[in-house]
C-alpha cells in the first residue's frame, strides 16, 4: 500500500502549473458545451473527451502539451458550432420560421 506521500503529485514548475490549468479549463469548457447536446450523445462525448485527455496524462514535453491543447480547442469550437446549429434548427422547428416577419 503506497504511503500518502508517495501518492502525492510531483511538484510542478509555474509554467507546468499554468499549462495544467489550461487543460482543466479546456475540459471544463467541453463539459459546459455538452450540457446542450442531446442527452443520448452527451455521455459519449464526455467519455471521449475524458479518455482523450487521459491518454496524454503522462506527457511531459511542454511543446507537445501545448499542441494538444490547441487541437483540443479546435475540437471544442467544432463542437460549439454544431451545438449552435442544432439549437437554431430546433428553435426554428419549434417556433416556426425565425425569419418571418408575421
Amino acid at each position: 500500500m503506497p504511503s500518502p506521500s508517495a501518492r502525492a503529485a510531483p511538484v510542478l514548475s509555474l509554467k507546468q502549473f499554468m499549462t495544467r490549468g489550461q487543460v482543466l479549463a479546456l475540459y471544463r469548457d467541453i463539459l459546459r458545451c455538452t450540457k446542450f447536446v442531446a442527452p443520448s450523445d452527451r455521455a459519449y462525448i464526455r467519455e471521449w473527451a475524458r479518455s482523450d485527455i487521459e491518454r496524454y496524462r503522462h506527457e511531459t514535453s511542454d511543446d507537445k502539451i501545448r499542441m494538444l491543447i490547441s487541437q483540443g480547442k479546435v475540437q471544442l469550437r467544432t463542437l460549439e458550432n454544431s451545438v449552435a446549429l442544432s439549437r437554431r434548427r430546433f428553435d426554428a422547428d419549434a417556433g416556426g420560421d425565425t425569419f418571418s416577419s408575421a
Binding site: 475540459y27 471544463r28 475524458r50
Partner: protein
C-alpha cells in the same frame, strides 16, 4: 299630460332606485378599500409569495444535496465521504474528476460557477460555501 307623467315616472323611479344603489355602491367601495389594506405582516407574506420566488436554501439542505451527489459519483467511496473529505488527498480523485464534480454541482443547483471559484472547490464543505453564497442557487 298623462303620457308625460308616464315618461316622468319611470325616470323618477329610476332615479329613486339609483340613489340607494349608488349609496350601496359607495359603501361597498369604502368597504373594499378598507379590506384591501390588511395587517402589515399578512400583506408582506402575501407579496413575498408572488414576487420573491422560492425560499432560499438552508445550509443543511445544501450539505445534504452535495453529499448525496458525491455518493452517487461512482469513483467516490461512500465510507470515506465527510464534509471535510479532500477530493484528492482523502477520496483519491484526480483533477479531471474535480472538474466533473463541479460541473455536476452546477447542474444540481442550477447555477454557474466562475472558473476561479470552481477550481477552489476541493472539499464538500467548500462546495457548500460557494453554493450558499450564490444567490441563484435552487
Amino acid at each position: 299630460m298623462f303620457c308625460l307623467a308616464r315618461v316622468a315616472l319611470p325616470k323618477l323611479a329610476a332615479a329613486a332606485a339609483a340613489a340607494p344603489a349608488r349609496r350601496a355602491a359607495v359603501s361597498a367601495i369604502a368597504a373594499a378599500r378598507v379590506s384591501l389594506r390588511p395587517a402589515p405582516a399578512a400583506s408582506l407574506a402575501f407579496a413575498r409569495l408572488f414576487s420573491a420566488g422560492p425560499a432560499p436554501l438552508t445550509v443543511q439542505q445544501i450539505e445534504d444535496r452535495v453529499l448525496q451527489l458525491l455518493k452517487d459519483f461512482d469513483k467516490v467511496d461512500p465510507s470515506k465521504l465527510t464534509l471535510d473529505a479532500h477530493f484528492t488527498n482523502d477520496l483519491g480523485l484526480d483533477s479531471l474528476d474535480q472538474v466533473e464534480i463541479t460541473m455536476a454541482l452546477e447542474d444540481e443547483f442550477s447555477i454557474e460557477l466562475p472558473d476561479r471559484d470552481a477550481e477552489e472547490i476541493l472539499t464538500p464543505r467548500q462546495a457548500v460555501e460557494k453554493i450558499f453564497l450564490n444567490k441563484n442557487a435552487m
